[in-house]
Symmetry: C2
Subunit: 247 residues, 2 copies
């Protein structure tokens, strides 16, 4: 579970790559032309933790980039879809299922992994902060959550990938319902606003925010209230998928 995509890869190379090359050469073809790249799936998993947008990273224990942090990933099995592979990664790393998951981009520059040609299809997942707390104690030796606003040095081209993830997330915020996937089923308007503020990394006006969200009809008042702390309790809302189109 703490292995990164690239660690597993090297295991694979020993078995998969060499015979193909040998066969190609035996037929006097250009070996490089018929050699197949490895295909992996990396999953950028983001969640809100401690009022911060954080990403799950894994510490590498072998060359290259030994000791650096990396986005978790693994091989795509020959008979599973890319999305299934991504869900499997997600399950292995966080134990969570049924989260928001979308394909982000495919990175495949020949030089990105010094060992062999690796094409990696990157997925992007958003995890409900509440369900995640359960596994917080699991943050043991070499798996960790990091603020996207203060990342450690990253292996491979993973910094670029996280940069791109953040851009995509921001871009989709106001014409999709992506923000809801970071919250539990019921939430207050202030909590929703905080999601937007953390992702956009700027303050929003409370009245305008509420006006805009409520006018779409995408929220449903549960009738319940959330009491925490020594102040007025807040209404709890629920996302109404029926009104999805309105955003």
């Amino acid at each position: 579970m703490e292995q990164t995509e690239e660690q597993r890869e090297s295991t694979n190379n020993v078995q998969g790559k060499t015979p193909a090359v040998a066969e190609a050469k035996a037929h006097s073809y250009d070996a490089s032309k018929y050699e197949r790249p490895s295909v992996t799936v990396d999953v950028v998993m983001m969640s809100l933790r401690h009022r911060d947008l954080q990403v799950l990273l894994i510490k590498r224990r072998a060359w290259p980039y030994e000791g650096m942090w990396a986005i978790p990933g693994g091989f795509v099995n020959i008979d599973e879809s890319l999305e299934t592979a991504a869900k499997r990664e997600l399950q292995e790393e966080t134990g969570v299922q049924d989260v928001y998951l979308e394909q982000l981009y495919t990175f495949g520059d020949p030089g990105r992994d010094p060992r062999t040609r690796v094409i990696t299809v990157v997925y992007f997942a958003l995890l409900d902060s509440e369900r995640l707390q359960v596994r917080a104690a699991d943050d043991a030796t070499d798996v960790g959550w990091f603020s996207v606003y203060g990342l450690p040095p990253l292996a491979f081209d993973h910094e670029k990938i996280l940069q791109y993830s953040l851009e995509r997330l921001r871009g989709k915020l106001d014409y999709t319902t992506i923000a809801f996937s970071l919250l539990p089923e019921q939430f207050t308007l202030r909590e929703l606003q905080r999601v937007y503020e953390i992702i956009l990394h700027k303050r929003l006006d409370k009245r305008n925010f509420r006006k805009k969200i409520l006018s779409t009809g995408i929220l449903e008042d549960t009738g319940a209230k959330k009491m925490e702390g020594t102040h007025r309790p807040a209404r709890l809302y629920r996302f109404n998928p029926a009104a999805e189109a309105k955003l």
Copy 2:
């Protein structure tokens, strides 16, 4: 040049796949786990022809989907980047270079090709209509341009891919300068408006359109005029990349 991605694939399989499987089996591993998928790049090439948004397709000459039309594509060489592979495809099919090119999406469902596992990274290209006319006579036997609004039956999941291409194109129209890549260096405002109208598939108000485009400062008056037909000549503009940010 008239081969599709999948035709080439079958040639490749004979050489690449078998040895890897044999090796895996010899070690008593699950063969499917270490078998590598093929990776191809498909390129959706769109252009404006005869006041219509058209896409370049290739007719398949072999099983599966024999006789059906498909998006052109080919293998990614082991030492070339995905984008380089896409440019190579583009060059092979149209002879055109320096066009707008972006990565669209990666499709990799195990069942999408009945012969073997193929993961295809799809790129999306927009070609300047003018430069293309030169090669119009080239539309020989099994390469053809088709209106995106009246597609023939397509092989594989290619209809879905074209659908997605069109969505992406529309989505990017008004916050990028993507439309300019469908026009020659100099063009009239009416021609630009026509690009928007054809892509969005609806009429736009002439005055509002001009107001909006000109207010961004993204166009530069060349001073020249375009005279064609028996009516008032139109100003010729040029895209000003310096003002790109303003859209």
